[in-house]
Amino acid sequence: MNGKTVVMGVIGADVHAIGIKILSHAFTEAGFNVVNLGVMVSQEEYIEAAIETNADAIIVSSLYGHGEMDCRGLREKCEEAGLKDIPMYVGGNLVVGKRDFAEVERIFLEMGFNRAYPPGTAPEKGIADISKDLGVGQP
């Protein structure tokens, strides 16, 4: 255990259940305390779970193309709920159609996410980034 708690789930009306299970397993293996909210998770559920568990980060997955609509306002709600500056990560098939990922990334960073990941990203990449951001293994 690395002492860090992450809350994760698939946002909105999205029911893609496999990816989040893989992520949950990978993060647990890497030493995180994972609170997996599963599929069809509302913004409020991430926030409430993060408050009760004193989470260090929120990880949002979206695979059905409506991520932009579902994720908008999450940062503001976190601020309102007292989760000031909690690191937020997002990944998956975030938008419909073939759009340049640089543009997609910009949209999500502007929305208040710390990092955004394109489809096909290996869990190891996210684990490495989040470990670094949260100072895992550093004195």
Partner: protein
């Protein structure tokens, strides 16, 4: 007569007592026949020795049954306001709800549930409630520590003689107890009501509440002498009813029960409550099979204004033109029972129906609609009670009217015939049968089940 008495001494008789705030009710049970020999009641002697009212009730009982020697004497109590509690948690839908469910499952009268950091006006509110016990939760194990510690400090500042059960984040529990005991409060630690996110564990809190009830509350409420005359510990009356409902569901299957009282309306459901319709996803905190909720703002006397506010003006005109005379009658005597057939009695019946409606709506789950690229989709929060077969009525305002079924009808959703989910639907029973506690024996049967479960089951079977 002598012969009859002799034979009765050989077989077993059990006395079940319910110390209510107004009446002390007694039930005599024969273990041999399995049957109820008689019931009686007498005004509770509050302020003097509570055994006075008990002796009067037993005298009245034995006048019907002949002299009886009891092998067991069991008692439940809701006298002196019952086991009055306040629940405190962090997030309303998570640990605050878990704390509320835990306190309700212990048979407490949960007057109010607070969440997040308590403020000064909430401190005053708690002071005004004068709870016997406070259940303090907040944070999963290893989760948030700040809020439970803040709330422990706020509770410590309240000048009132309540005990605190700490059932929150284990990493903060000892510090919270330290803060409370330093201020002179009795504080105990038990297991977290939500040790892991979205996982309820209400048993440790329930046991801690029951232990404190025995240890402190019984004495504080002047029940200690009566307790010594009983063969088993006195428990809160709602706990006896709760255990009776669990027993009843073993016989009848899924049930929903409503107990309308002077100060609160209590609702019990015994069912899994999983979605009954296709394409519905269950969300939120998983609820227990045996669930009890207490609506502290829905009472027929002490908190009748909430209910009166819900009555529409057209209902007023048809049922009771003179509301002030009703209010005055209720205020001058909280135990007021209107004469049968009077306008006040009709109004009482309407208020009871409203209490049943609101309390069961709050207890039941509901569907929320989500609009997805694939059309409408539904989330279910709480329990789906649509398939529940029986609605059970408890409490004077229901059972002492000419038409209990019409009051209980408010626990059902008669318009709901849909085979597919519809929008914003409250998941109340669709077409239940109605039964009620005609002889006022449910708390007695809950007590009896603690001694002999099969016997209680057989008596319930024959009485319903």
């Amino acid at each position: 007569m002598n012969v009859r008495d002799e034979s009765r001494k050989d077989s077993g008789f059990i006395l079940a007592v319910d110390f209510g705030s107004t009446f002390t009710k007694v039930v005599a049970i024969s273990t041999e026949k399995p049957e109820i020999l008689g019931t009686a009641k007498s005004p509770t002697t509050i302020g003097t020795d509570i055994r006075g009212g008990l002796n009067n009730a037993v005298k009245e009982l034995t006048a019907q049954t002949g002299k009886l020697t009891f092998t067991h004497k069991l008692a439940a109590s809701s006298a002196y306001g019952g086991l009055k509690m306040v629940a405190v948690g962090l997030v309303p839908s998570l640990t605050a709800k878990a704390a509320n469910l835990a306190a309700c499952s212990a048979g407490a009268k949960v007057v109010k549930t607070f969440s997040y950091e308590l403020n000064a006006s909430e401190q005053e509110e708690i002071h005004g409630i004068q709870p016997d016990l406070i259940l303090l939760s907040g944070g999963t194990d290893g989760g948030n520590k700040d809020v439970i510690l803040h709330n422990a400090k706020k509770l410590a500042e309240i000048e009132s003689d309540f005990a605190v059960i700490i059932a929150g984040n284990k990493s903060a529990a000892e510090d919270a107890r330290e803060v409370l005991t330093r201020s002179g409060k009795h504080a105990v630690i038990c297991g977290n009501v939500m040790p892991v996110f979205n996982t309820l564990d209400t048993l440790p809190a329930r046991d801690a509440i029951n232990a404190l009830f025995l240890e402190k509350i019984i004495k504080a409420k002047g029940l200690a002498q009566a307790a010594r005359e009983m063969t088993m510990p006195i428990i809160p009356t709602p706990l006896a009813v709760f255990e009776c409902m669990q027993l009843l569901s073993e016989n009848l299957g899924d049930i929903l029960a409503v107990d309308v009282g002077g100060a609160t309306t209590d609702v019990y459901s015994m069912c899994r409550g999983a979605p009954t319709l296709p394409g519905v996803t269950q969300k939120g905190l998983p609820e227990p099979f045996a669930k009890r909720t207490v609506e502290g703002d829905l009472g027929m006397r002490h908190s009748q204004e909430t209910l009166i506010d819900k009555i529409t003006s057209s209902q007023f005109e048809t049922k009771l033109p003179d509301i002030e005379s009703y209010r005055t009658a209720c205020r001058s005597d909280y135990a007021y029972i209107p004469p049968a057939g009077s306008p006040h009695a009709h109004f009482d019946q309407m208020l009871a129906g409203t209490a049943v409606d609101i309390a069961t709506t709050r207890h039941a789950g509901y569907l929320e609609t989500a609009y997805t690229p694939f059309g409408e989709s539904f989330y279910q929060m709480g329990k789906d009670l649509t398939a529940v077969k029986y609605v059970v009525g408890i409490g004077g305002p229901i059972i002492y009217t000419d038409d209990p079924a019409s009051i209980l009808q408010n626990a059902a959703t008669p318009t709901r015939h849909a085979t597919t989910p519809t929008r914003d639907n409250v998941l109340k029973p669709a077409s239940p049968k109605f039964i009620w506690d005609k002889k006022y024996i449910f708390s007695a049967m809950g007590l009896l089940a603690r001694v002999d479960k099969q016997l209680a089951l057989r008596i319930l079977e024959s009485e319903l």
